[in-house]
């Protein structure tokens, strides 16, 4: 999973990054641990969706849509499993599959290394993710949910800020 690959038929100037062994698995597990563990001590930390940020980052960096969507699916399903029995398996799975696919597709076409680009993309992906979760709840699960709250808007900005620093940190896991 960590081997480099070529993106044929795409822009050749976009660099495909490869990561140190176990980096993706390690970062994913740490993110899920953080998501389930830290809010016990810092309730506000629950607004940070680290599994989503990890999906976006590796999607943007690996730039292979198939890898991106599969990674998103695995992260999403694991998050579903750790979210209690009231969250059906697939709720986050579907959302993160789509985000993984979109992130890696965009990553293959644009240079997404600049912090401003990462900030903006994270806000967009966060909104999309919430939209997909909400649509899944409304259409497939017949549950009511609100489209927009100030809390969600604040969470999008907070996640984007965290993403800028987290992505810079994760850049160190790349093979030079």
């Amino acid at each position: 999973m960590n081997d480099a690959f070529d993106i044929r038929n795409m822009e050749s100037h976009i660099e495909v990054h490869k990561f140190r062994g176990g980096a993706i698995v390690g970062a994913t597990l740490l993110a899920l641990m953080f998501q389930a563990f830290v809010p016990v001590y810092f309730a506000k930390a629950a607004m940070i969706d680290l599994p989503l940020l990890i999906t976006i980052y590796f999607g943007l960096s690996r730039r292979n849509p198939s890898t991106g969507l599969l990674l998103g699916m695995v992260i999403g399903l694991l998050q579903d499993s750790l979210s209690g029995p009231t969250v059906p398996l697939g709720l986050y799975g579907i959302a993160k599959t789509v985000i993984g696919y979109l992130a890696s597709s965009i990553g293959a076409r644009l240079d997404t290394e600049h912090p401003a680009a990462r900030f903006a993309l994270t806000i967009i992906f966060f909104g999309l993710h919430q939209g997909i979760v909400l649509l899944t709840r409304r259409i497939l699960l017949a549950q009511s949910s609100v489209w927009f709250t100030m809390h969600l808007a604040a969470a999008a900005v907070v996640n984007a800020i965290v993403a800028v620093f987290l992505f810079a940190l994760l850049d160190h896991l790349r093979k030079s």
Binding site: M33, L77, S83, V87, L140
Partner: protein, 333 residues
């Protein structure tokens, strides 16, 4: 996939993977299986790390409080620093011990004053991994006789109910979750109406007619009608009332601090319980000992250890005054 252009392969894969997950969702709804096997594996794989993390964080916090937080004061004077460090370290140790002892004393007093109710202390080791639900994970499971649908409380009030049990851990659905609900009544008028979560910090009381008299600040307690919680346990206090059609819109601030739970009590019975109102009211007050006052429990023992020492007792009227500090004896209703 022969015949499919390479650039379209990922789109087909995306469609396939999403379709599979939609089928998975549909299966769960139809069979109501909730994909238990996958959950058991995932929770089983993650809970040891969560437990270890819990211990690690606790240790780090202790180390931080007792040593690193004092290091900055050491540069002024070597001799004074040593004395200061020692004194501050002792003060910090005593303060953290006193705080923990207060918390444990509260749990212990509650337990002692309700000895006829089988209960077990547990530590919170994790929360829900997403914002779609409000759940917590406890470090006690089926091996500790916890079962689905058991009530979970703190001395301050109702927390939620057990919705999933594993060998060494269990998951609790908090009152604030959208799918949560509890039989409730107004403490003054005794008007009964269910209280549920709305996916936000405040709870909602449903089905109170516009004609009924309700006041902001009024306490809401359990009615006992849900057969999970005993009567008269505090749920919260009314913070907002708006007229609605056909029912009032009533919002309630939970008595228990559901965002900062570290130790909880699991009611180890699925039978309807009766609690003595006086005893309950007394134990809801702050710790009997207070900071600086000696407490009966070793500060180093965890809440779960403390409560776990008391084996689950059968439900029986047992009026036992626990100690001078403990709140009140349990009297049969």
């Amino acid at each position: 996939m022969p015949g499919i252009p390479s650039r379209h392969k990922s789109i087909f894969l995306l469609a396939g993977v999403v379709l599979l997950q939609i089928l998975l969702l549909a299966l769960q709804i139809k069979r109501d299986s909730q994909g238990r096997l996958i959950r058991v594996w995932t929770v089983g794989a993650f809970s040891p790390f969560e437990r270890a993390g819990n211990h690690g964080i606790g240790h780090l916090r202790e180390t931080w409080r007792h040593y690193f937080a004092l290091q900055n004061t050491s540069r002024e004077n070597e001799q004074l620093r040593r004395e200061n460090d020692e004194l501050k370290m002792q003060v910090n140790q005593l303060q953290s011990k006193a705080t923990e002892a207060d918390r444990l004393a509260l749990l212990l007093n509650f337990h002692k004053s309700h000895e006829n109710v089988p209960m077990l202390g547990a530590r919170v080791i994790a929360t829900s991994a997403g914002t779609a639900s409000a759940t917590i994970m406890l470090d006690r499971g089926s091996k500790d006789h916890i079962k689905k649908n058991m009530g979970v409380i703190t001395p301050e009030g109702v927390v939620g109910k057990v919705v999933e049990v594993y060998d060494n851990t269990s998951e609790v659905l908090l009152l604030t979750d959208k799918d949560s609900g509890v039989g409730a009544m107004l403490s003054n008028s005794r008007k009964q109406s269910p209280v549920g979560g709305a996916g936000e910090p405040l709870l909602v009381m449903k089905y109170v007619a516009n004609d009924d008299v309700v006041n902001v600040g009024e306490r809401v307690v359990t009615s006992g009608m849900d057969k999970i919680f005993p009567r008269d346990l505090p749920i919260g206090t009314i913070t907002e009332i708006k007229p609605g059609n056909p029912f009032k819109s009533i919002r309630i601030r939970p008595s228990a601090d559901l965002e900062r739970l570290e130790e909880v009590i699991v009611l180890l019975t699925l039978q309807p319980l009766l609690l003595n109102k006086e005893a309950e009211t007394e134990t809801a007050k702050p710790a009997a000992g207070g900071p600086g006052k000696p407490v009966t429990e070793s500060p180093k023992s965890s809440a779960s250890e403390t409560a776990a020492k008391s084996a689950p007792a059968p439900i029986a009227p047992a009026p036992v005054p626990a100690s001078a500090d403990s709140a009140a004896a349990v009297k049969p209703e």
